[in-house]
């Protein structure tokens, strides 16, 4: 089954990392992904720009309205995701644990099975 690992953490904290700190974290995270990628199990991975760059389209009384940002008054924001082919939940949890071990942001990883998957052809 394909799992999505959704990353939540405080954007304030992550944005305050220096470039060196950020590079270090990214390198460590890449390290974790490597063996999964080699095994052909890792699907698309994305890191998102800050929520301040986000726009939301919402249907209000049958009409689509475009508004700024996700407007979530939450302490943690959705910052990115991984997709990984796993035999069972334990494997997905293990992957998330490995990621969290090298990620100092103190956030959380939501593990969600994927229902529909349409691999895109666009390269970031």
């Amino acid at each position: 089954m394909l799992y999505a690992i959704l990353c939540y953490a405080s954007e304030d904290v992550v944005c305050s990392w220096s470039k060196e700190q950020d590079d270090e974290v990214m390198a460590n995270l890449l390290n974790v992904q490597e063996k999964y990628a080699t095994a052909g199990r890792l699907g698309p991975v994305a890191r998102l720009l800050p929520t301040t760059a986000a726009t939301t389209l919402r249907k209000v009384k049958g009409e689509s309205v475009v508004i700024d940002g996700p407007f979530a008054e939450t302490k943690e924001q959705f910052l990115g995701f991984y997709t990984l082919e796993c035999a069972d939940l334990d494997e997905a949890v293990e992957f998330a644990r490995e990621l969290s071990e090298v990620n100092p942001s103190g956030g959380s990883y939501e593990i969600r099975p994927v229902s529909v998957f349409n691999p895109s052809t666009a390269a970031a």
Binding site: D12, V13, V66, D68, E73, P104
Partner: protein, 424 residues
């Protein structure tokens, strides 16, 4: 990242919110700073032992406030009369933690904290220094290094500025809509000043001053988080990101300035450009243009051009003319002339800037551009005069060196012409 790095990161991230709330309680900058310092010390002791709190800002506010109240109580025991008025609201002090983290409050808290630094009596450099100290928590030593002055001189400057802020009194009331937007505009201008202070530099100083640009971006993002639907704050943040994206390409290995046209665009930070472009797109949807948005849109056109010759100078000319209407200034016209030279030729550009000579008589870039235009028109003698003026006005060694390069080229061309004449 080490545990200590994580803690110091969390503290500096929480700082504006925590300091803003503590200032609201104590209505006194020194008391707020003291309380915050105390809370930080306790965090350093407590967090490694008990693990990081879920909400570091809330923790620091809670602990800081208690320690601040203790300090006031101790002092009032020694003093003949109790000084209850040092605490904003005693009832407030006993209320539940949830109330303290009221979201609506904290937006105004942070804005107030930034706003008191923009006191109109303070010269711009002092506003910046005091904001970096109070809001960002940057050490005096680091600020002094960024401003290229001694530590004790900077210490004095900040102390004096803080005394003036204290005299002026903290604008404590919750601002109304008009007041809030005025505060926001003043604060945005200060953030822009911080950025420019870091940006106008030469290569030798760049490493010391780059943190100012990064701090300005951090503050702009903070403002944008607080005012998510303000197109001008989107514009400001975009402008800073798009300009800072070029930082790795601004100087060559000899420390010489590399002009926009000659920069290696592969060195530009793609990530910052993407974020900046996304923000410009978002802002423009509001159809409420303002100076930051227009400047960001200009920077976006440069960022979007893969090669210098792809630059849409016609659109840049239009945007500068819009900026001229919003914010008439000879410097804006001077910038517009660069685009005009590309679109309509050096003669039109020269005609545009000549009337500005008196007002820009002390401005390096005026004579640099004038010399360049004259050179393009083949008026070497006049170009030489303008370049000489530019060198005399150069702010940094790199600026002077850049103009000298033009002069050298003129000399060579002159020599070649003379040689050609003799040969004939």
């Amino acid at each position: 990242m080490t545990e200590l790095a994580w803690i110091s990161n969390a503290i500096s991230t929480a700082r504006p919110q925590a300091m803003g709330a503590l200032l609201r309680y104590f209505r006194d900058l020194d008391a707020a700073e003291e309380a915050f310092q105390d809370a930080c010390l306790r965090a350093l002791k407590n967090w490694p032992k008990n693990g990081p709190p879920r909400d570091p800002a809330a923790w620091l506010i809670f602990v800081g406030r208690n320690s601040g109240i203790d300090a006031v109580r101790k002092r009032s025991k020694q003093a003949p009369l109790p000084e209850e008025d040092q605490i904003s609201d005693l009832e407030d002090a006993e209320s539940d933690i949830a109330e303290r983290l009221d979201g609506a409050h904290y937006r105004d808290d942070i804005l107030r904290l930034l706003f008191i630094c923009c006191h109109p009596d303070l010269p711009a450099t002092q506003q910046i220094a005091v904001a970096l100290r109070i809001v960002s928590g940057i050490t005096v030593k680091q600020i002094a290094r960024a401003f290229l002055v001694g530590e004790s001189a900077m210490e004095q400057r900040i102390t004096r500025a803080k005394a003036r802020i204290a005299d002026a009194g903290v604008p404590f009331e919750t601002p109304g809509a008009v007041e809030r937007s005025e505060r926001l505009a003043a604060v945005a201008a200060m953030v822009y000043l911080i950025f420019n202070e870091g940006y106008s530099t030469n290569s030798g100083e760049a490493p010391a001053r780059a943190p100012l640009c990064e701090e300005a971006i951090r503050l702009a993002r903070l403002l944008l988080r607080l005012f998510q639907t303000e197109p001008e704050i989107m514009g400001l943040t975009a402008l800073l990101l798009l300009q800072h994206a070029r930082a790795p390409a601004r100087f060559d290995e000899n420390g010489e300035i590399v002009l926009l046209e000659d920069q290696d665009r592969s060195l530009w930070s793609r990530k910052m450009i993407d974020e900046g472009l996304a923000l410009v797109d978002k802002a423009l949807r509001h159809q409420k243009p303002g100076p930051y948005q227009v400047q960001a849109a200009i920077a976006a056109l440069h960022a979007r051009a893969e090669k210098p010759e792809d630059t849409d100078w016609t659109e840049i000319d239009l945007l500068y003319s819009l900026l001229e209407q919003m914010q008439p200034s000879p410097v804006v016209t001077l910038n517009r002339a660069v685009a005009v030279a590309k679109v309509r030729g050096p003669e039109a550009a020269l005609a545009m800037i000549e009337p500005l000579e008196q007002r820009l008589s002390g401005y390096f870039h005026f004579f640099g551009l004038k010399g360049g235009l004259l050179m393009q028109l083949g008026r070497g003698e006049e170009a030489r005069v303008a370049f000489d003026r530019a060198i005399a006005l150069a702010n940094t060694a790199a600026e002077a060196a850049h103009i000298r390069m033009h002069i050298d080229r003129l000399m060579k061309e002159g020599a070649a012409k003379a040689a050609a004449k003799t040969a004939r």
